[in-house]
Every structure is written in structure tokens, then in C-alpha cells.
């Protein structure tokens, strides 16, 4: 029984169905995983060959991360087995998999906040000389490895103090420090911007050249298309098939993942003129991150913020919203106001979706309902009493509206797949019914079908007369969605593009170079 949809045209090679083609470094045979009786991965078989880049794609909650965690010893399969180079292996713990040469770059960042970058990199495999830890050498090697990835943080900085993107690079560096036979990347580029992505892809090609097998998960199908020798598609925990990579178009991949026809990714932009200014920010300065930034966003407008990693966009908005020390003159609907905390921002009708969903967005140990309503508790009250029935209704509605794939409405947030957590977070922010919505990385980790849905949501918001700011590292997304894009560089605004000028190359220019000569695009 094949659940693969018919493609428009025949794929040149038929699905290989994971049949061994050569000597596999790692072979998964009939892997299944159940969580509390719910099957999230069923009978998956896969061969990973040396020097091969093997992409795993699928919708949010399809079981990709679960699969990767099984391969790298973070969890143990309910059924099925693993073998390496023909010999059966069992990993009860991640370090056993690591010792066998398998490294995983986690989708959710897994670093100890209170430790330094170098301590995190060498955790559990410290270098020593005569029994004494050799800090100098570890620091030097760490610096070198980080520099290779284009990450400029000091090895002795505390992880808690460095930006999210750098944490991701540190995590990648950790997997690359030792020589592994299989390296697994679970959405490594979700928090990275163009330059870093390019550098990472180069490193992955380099791994391939050295005969390392790479497993690669991403919702950015363009990356998959560039990288993958093979693509394995998962849907609802089941294998759809394994296909030769270069023969698949992005549209093919999307169809295989979703199992149905997809609408256009970006909804049409509204043609009506945006209204009066909703939010005006003048001379916003966030010490150390952003300086003298002024902008305004109008009713019914989607304003994009673009920039490279470290441009200071996140910190700028956290400063404006009272989440970190900053100075700014703010006017909301023409009324000057001071915002000293997120509470005041919410009361004024400004919602903010953080880019760090694990650290700042969701209580992973808490159930879905309380997570959803946490910012909008007042709406679930009658008198002094919380109305849990209202909360349950809101959750059911959010689950349906945002297509959050949950196995149970009483799950905990940490049990959701990454993309579904992101959707829950979005639902949480929009539940406060803000008139200005600031969304930092709206589609991080969200699959292509749902991306389209989220874009529709954002368009709906502005259609209702709200104003929306979208901060994104995906330039394509900004171009597809926004009416106007402000580009930041080194904490300052380096330019603004709209209309014809709104192209990826122009944004990249403004984001990287001192004086950019913008080219006219768009019309072709």
C-alpha cells in the first residue's frame, strides 16, 4: 500500500524504499516509537551511506526529530533495531552513539546556560594535560572551530549571554569538534541568516567530501534541494519513501510531505493603502545592541525587519517592549506612552512573539491550555474564578485554527514537535488580541504547508486593521509577505525598501555593506 501521492510527472528513479544500495554506515530497520501508547514513528527503515547527504523532510510532527533522536541514542526505539557497518548496535545513551561516531545537532538548543561556550563545547570530553584540564588548548581549538562557522563569540562568554543564533552555531560546533561518521542536523538553519547558512552548507559539503554521512532536516526546501543526495519523506510517522534528491523539485517535496495539493505559499498582498500610523518609535537605543532607531508602522501594514545575525533586531524590540534596558520615544495611535514591561505593552495592545520559544516562550513542563492562556488570563475569568471550560474551548479552537498537531489536549508543551510548539506560541500571542503584533521569526521550524497558513493569518490580522512587524531571517519570506522592509546593520537602520526595490539582493546589500546601490527589481 503506497501512501505516496501521484506526482505531476514521473520521478526519474522510483522510490528506493531504503533498500541497501551500498555499505551503509548506519542502518535503521523497522524502527518504531511509541510515547505512552501513541505511535509517533512506525516501521521506518533507512540506510545511510558514507559521503552521502540524506535529507529527511515531513510536516510538523511527522516524526523527524523523534527519528533522529532514536538514531543518536537520546531515546530508545519501541521496536526495530540499528546497525552500523553491518553490526547490530544499541544506544542506551547519547554518549554511546557519540562514541560510535554519531553526533546530533538538536532542533531545540541543548546547552547549559550557566556555563561558558568552551565548557559547553567540551562537556564530557574535556582535554587534559597530566590530569589537569587544558583550558588554553580547548579555548584555542574552540575559537578556531567557531571561526570556521563564522561565529564570533568569545569562547569564555556565558551561553546565557549570547544571542540565539550564536547558540545554534555553538551547538553545531560541538557536533563538529570530533570526527564523526554520521552527523545529524535537525533544522540547523532555523535561526541562521543568509551568510551563516552559506557557511554551514559549505561545511556540510566538506563533511560529505571527507566521507562523512550527513542526515539533514529542514523545512527550507531550497536548502534540501541544493544539498540532498537522497530525500526521505515522513508523513504521520510513516515512511512515504526515499527519493534521489536532485530529481525532486520543491513542489514535489511539498506534495510528498503533505499528501495533497498546496495553495500558493504567499497570499496576495492587499492593494488598499495602509492607514494612519499605529506605532511610532523614535530614537530607540538599546545599549550595546541598537542605536538611535526610528520607524513607524501603519494600520493595516506589514513592516519587515531584515538583517544579518547580530544586527540587533531582537534586542531592539525587546528594548522597546520593556524587556531590557532601553530608551525610546513611543507613540501608539498618536498617544505618547512609556512601556516599562511586557505587561504594559500587552495592556497597550502590543503583542510580541519571542524568537526563543524554549527559553522565553513556552513552559515546556506545563500543559497546553495554561501555556496558551498565560498572557491573556484576564479573558478566561468570570469574577475571580478561572473558567477552565473557556480555556479548553480556546485550546480546541487554537488547535484547529493553527493546525497544531497534538496527540492529546492534555499533553505538555514539551511533548509537541518543534513546529507545533511554534504554532502554539503564535496562538498564545494572538490570543491577547493585540492591535500591533511584533513577530520575531514567525515561521521558525514550521513546515511549508503551515507556513502558507501562517502567512494567511498575518494578512488576516492586518486586514482587520491591526499593524504587524515581522522580524525574519528568511529574506524570501519578508519579500513575499511585507509591504515595506527596514534593514538593520550593526544596531542601526541601514536602509528601507518597498515596492520594486523589495528584492532579496537589495536587502542583502543593505544588510552587509556600508553604502549600497540598490537595483530595481521585482518587475521581471
Amino acid at each position: 500500500m503506497s501512501i505516496a501521492p501521484r506526482l505531476d510527472r514521473d520521478i526519474v528513479a522510483a522510490p528506493t524504499d531504503g533498500r541497501p544500495v551500498g555499505p551503509a554506515v548506519l542502518r535503521a530497520a523497522g524502527l518504531s516509537k511509541q510515547f505512552g501508547g501513541v505511535t509517533v514513528l512506525a516501521d521506518v527503515t533507512l540506510d545511510v551511506l558514507p559521503g552521502e547527504i540524506h535529507a529527511i523532510i515531513g510536516e510538523n510532527g511527522a516524526g523527524k526529530s523523534t527519528f533522529m533522536r532514536l538514531l543518536s541514542g537520546y531515546i530508545e526505539p519501541t521496536e526495530g533495531k540499528l546497525s552500523m557497518a553491518g553490526r547490530d548496535v544499541r544506544f542506551a545513551k547519547p554518549d554511546q552513539a557519540q562514541a560510535a561516531g554519531i553526533a546530533l545537532v538538536h532542533q531545540e538548543i541543548l546547552l547549559a546556560d550557566a556555563l561558558t561556550v568552551v565548557d559547553n563545547l567540551y562537556l564530557g570530553r574535556e582535554l587534559t594535560r597530566n590530569g589537569i584540564v587544558d583550558d588554553a588548548r580547548m579555548r584555542a581549538l574552540a575559537s578556531a572551530k567557531l571561526a570556521e562557522l563564522g561565529c564570533e563569540v568569545s569562547p569564555t562568554a556565558l551561553v546565557r549571554d549570547i544571542p540565539l543564533a550564536d547558540r545554534q552555531l555553538v551547538q553545531i560546533a560541538r557536533a563538529l569538534l570530533d570526527h564523526h561518521r554520521v552527523v545529524i542536523f535537525d533544522e540547523p538553519t532555523a535561526v541562521l541568516t543568509g551568510g551563516e547558512v552559506e557557511r554551514l552548507l559549505a561545511i556540510i559539503f566538506d563533511l560529505k567530501a571527507r566521507g562523512v554521512a550527513v542526515l539533514y532536516i529542514s523545512h527550507r526546501l531550497d536548502e534540501v534541494q541544493r544539498l540532498a543526495d537522497k530525500v526521505t519523506v515522513l508523513r504521520d510517522g510513516k515512511m512515504v519513501g526515499t527519493y534521489p534528491g536532485h530529481t525532486l523539485t520543491q513542489i514535489d517535496m511539498a506534495r510528498l510531505m503533505v499528501g495533497r495539493e498546496l495553495a500558493a505559499l504567499y497570499p496576495p498582498k492587499r492593494t488598499d493603502k495602509a492607514g494612519a500610523p499605529m506605532l511610532v518609535v523614535r530614537n530607540a537605543t538599546v545599549p550595546g545592541f541598537a542605536e538611535d532607531v526610528s520607524f513607524s508602522v501603519r494600520k493595516g501594514e506589514i513592516l519587515g525587519f531584515a538583517g544579518m545575525i547580530g544586527a540587533g533586531r531582537t534586542e531592539l524590540f525587546e528594548g522597546i517592549l520593556g524587556l531590557r534596558p532601553a530608551t525610546a520615544a513611543i507613540e501608539l495611535k498618536g498617544v505618547p506612552m512609556r512601556i516599562r514591561s511586557q505587561r504594559e505593552a500587552l495592556d497597550a495592545g502590543i503583542g510580541y512573539l519571542t524568537e526563543d520559544r524554549k527559553g522565553k516562550g513556552l513552559l515546556l513542563q506545563e500543559r497546553l491550555g495554561p501555556n496558551l492562556t498565560l498572557s491573556a488570563l484576564a479573558r478566561f475569568h468570570r469574577g475571580p474564578v478561572m473558567r477552565t471550560s473557556l480555556e479548553t474551548d480556546a485550546l480546541a479552537k487554537a488547535v484547529a485554527d493553527y493546525d497544531i498537531r497534538v496527540k492529546s489536549l492534555v499533553s505538555r508543551a514539551g511533548q509537541l514537535s518543534g513546529g507545533n510548539q511554534q504554532k502554539l506560541l503564535l496562538a498564545k500571542v494572538l490570543l491577547t488580541d493585540p492591535s500591533v503584533v511584533i513577530i520575531d521569526e514567525p515561521t521558525r521550524g514550521i513546515d511549508i504547508a503551515n507556513k502558507a497558513q501562517i502567512y494567511v493569518f498575518i494578512q488576516d490580522l492586518v486586514a482587520q486593521g491591526k499593524a504587524c512587524v515581522v522580524i525574519s531571517s528568511e529574506m524570501q519570506e519578508l519579500v513575499g509577505l511585507c509591504d515595506r522592509i527596514i534593514v538593520m546593520r550593526e544596531g542601526r537602520i541601514s536602509g528601507e525598501v518597498s515596492g520594486e526595490e523589495m528584492t532579496e539582493s537589495n536587502i542583502a546589500l543593505l544588510a552587509t555593506s556600508e553604502r549600497a546601490q540598490l537595483a530595481q527589481g521585482g518587475s521581471q
Partner: protein
């Protein structure tokens, strides 16, 4: 999304399912009662049980407050000294008022107790939140302060309550309503109110959220400072109520009043299933924990196995076993 829609009803049914983890403290309680009965049948005599549960009322009432503080991710070591301090203030005030107000000095004194409790809690809360001092150290400091104040107020001796108020006040500890001792009723009321606030109000949600993750709370528009401060204020109110029940028992406050209660309170909360790292509070478990502690002490006296010197050891062992049973019954 058929899968979803099908699975949703099944799982919302699960919500009402019996949870072994939550039942842990109650199972431990039942086991202890059974053990007690085997050792000495008098253990289950109504008088003995009534005595023990009445005695556990103070710790239970304070521990309800501690459940808030602990689930908000903090700790309060000062509660024992605070009981003594509030009891001292209350008695002094009642004694001063007795000549003019007569028996009405008692409710007036109770009001003073509550106000003092709220202020003490507020002080603790502000030192911890605004002062940003580790709760352990901050409340260790205020513990010394409250203890020293009651020692100072009593000159190291005793402040007894005025004889004229003694008999009128006695029923608050020794009286019964419909056969149930008043302290038990009060602690049940405090627990019910606590459970309501923690589980059924905005504040309860926020309290648990702050304990689970300060950052997430802050980014959700919750003020960590005020949420945690309010938890300490609630703790102060609970301590005041405990002090109000305490005073009529012996009719006096001394510098040894409430000594080491803080440890009992924290133990009761933890035995009850609340995690010390915060984010989760179990009011009813806490009550069970307080009763368990008092039952263990009672069992030590009622049994004849244990040398007087070793009572503390056996108590320690039983507590550890109770925790182990709880942990591995999951």
C-alpha cells in the same frame, strides 16, 4: 486532521483519570495509618487521631502558604520565628487592649496578627524580589531577626496572655464545632481557599508560571517581582492564622515558640508532592504531608521499640522511606 479530532475526546477523558503520582502522599498516609494500627491499636482511637490532626493544623496552615512560595520558585525559612514574633505581638496587643475592650481585645488582636503577618511577608518578599537576594539567605536573615525580636520582647522569657482573656480565647484551639476541633476546620478552610487561589485564579497560574520559568513569565507579561512578593504575603497571612490558633493552646509566646517549624513546613510541602524547584504546587498533598509528619512523631511515642535517643533517627528514616515509596510508586 482526522487523527486529531479522534484522539481529542479520548485524551480529555484522561484528564479525570486517577493519577498515581498525585495520590502518592495519600497512599503514604494510608500506609502509615495501617502501620500505626498494627503497632498500637490506640493509634486509631478517635481521641488520638483528633489530637494529632489538630496538632498538625499549624504546620498545615503555614505549609499552605509555603506551597505558594515554593511553587513560585522561592523558599521561606523564617516562618517558625515569624509565628513566634506574631504570637508575641498579638498577645502584647491583646493584653494592652484587654482592660478597655474586654473580650473584644481578642478579635482586635487577631486583626493585628493578620496585619503583622502581611507586613512580615511583604518584608520577606521585598528583600527577595527587589533586593534580589537568594531566598534561602534572605529568609535565614529575617529568621534571625524575628527570633531576636521575640526574644527581646519577652526578655528571653514568656509573654503570657492576660488571664481575663484566657478562657474566652481557649476554644479557638480546644473547641469543636459539630464534634470537629476548630483548628482542623480552620486548616481545612485555609487549604480550600489556598487550593482555590492556586488552581482557580489568575494569580495561581502566574505563581506557578514564575516558578517554572522566570523568563517565560516575564515574556508573557507577568511581573516576577509582584507575583513572588504576593506569594510571600500569602505566606505571611497563613503564618498569622497559624499564630492565632497557636496562642490559645498554651496561652503564651516564648523565644522557643515555632523553633524548627520551617523545616517541618518545607518537609510537609515536599512530602505532599510539590517540587522544591518550583512550578508546581499541591495544596492537598501539603495537608497530607503535614498530617504524615505529625503522625510519625505520634507513632514514635505510641510505639515502644525506639530508644528515646533514637527517635530523631527513626523519624528521619521514615521520612526518607515515605519519599522513596512516593518516588517509585510512579
Amino acid at each position: 486532521m482526522t487523527a486529531l479530532i479522534q484522539s481529542a475526546p479520548a485524551s480529555s477523558a484522561r484528564q479525570y483519570r486517577f493519577s498515581w503520582a498525585d495520590a502518592g502522599p495519600f497512599l503514604a498516609l494510608a500506609a502509615l495509618l495501617a502501620l500505626g494500627f498494627l503497632i498500637n491499636p490506640d493509634f486509631l482511637s478517635p481521641t488520638n487521631l483528633a489530637n494529632v490532626i489538630t496538632r498538625s493544623a499549624y504546620i498545615a496552615i503555614i505549609a499552605v502558604g509555603a506551597t505558594f512560595v515554593i511553587s513560585s520558585g522561592a523558599l521561606d525559612l523564617s516562618v517558625g520565628s515569624m509565628v513566634a514574633f506574631i504570637a508575641g505581638i498579638t498577645i502584647m496587643f491583646m493584653n494592652i487592649m484587654a482592660p478597655s475592650l474586654g473580650v473584644w481585645a481578642i478579635p482586635a488582636g487577631m486583626a493585628v496578627a493578620v496585619v503583622t503577618g502581611l507586613l512580615c511577608g511583604l518584608a520577606n518578599g521585598l528583600v527577595v524580589t527587589v533586593g534580589q537576594i537568594e531566598p534561602f539567605i534572605a529568609t535565614l536573615g529575617t529568621m534571625g531577626i524575628f527570633r531576636a525580636l521575640i526574644t527581646y520582647m519577652t526578655n528571653g522569657g514568656t509573654i503570657p496572655i492576660d488571664r481575663s482573656l484566657r478562657e474566652a480565647y481557649r476554644p479557638v484551639y480546644f473547641g469543636t464545632v459539630a464534634g470537629i476541633p476548630i483548628p482542623i476546620l480552620i486548616s481545612a478552610a485555609v487549604a480550600a481557599l489556598g487550593a482555590f487561589v492556586l488552581y482557580k485564579t489568575k494569580y495561581g497560574r502566574r505563581c506557578a508560571a514564575v516558578g517554572a520559568s522566570e523568563d517565560v513569565a516575564r515574556y508573557s507579561g507577568i511581573s516576577v517581582v509582584s507575583t513572588r512578593t504576593i506569594a510571600y504575603v500569602i505566606q505571611g497571612a497563613c503564618v498569622a492564622i497559624a499564630a492565632i490558633c497557636y496562642v490559645p493552646r498554651l496561652g503564651a509566646a516564648t523565644p522557643t515558640t515555632g523553633q524548627l517549624w520551617e523545616l517541618q513546613v518545607i518537609t510537609a510541602v515536599v512530602i505532599g508532592g510539590t517540587a522544591l524547584r518550583g512550578g508546581k504546587g499541591r495544596i492537598w498533598g501539603t495537608i497530607a504531608g503535614a498530617v504524615i509528619l505529625e503522625l510519625i512523631a505520634n507513632l514514635m511515642v505510641l510505639s515502644d521499640f525506639v530508644s528515646e535517643y533514637l527517635v530523631a533517627a527513626v523519624q528521619g528514616v521514615i521520612i526518607i522511606i515515605a519519599m522513596l515509596v512516593q518516588r517509585f510508586s510512579k
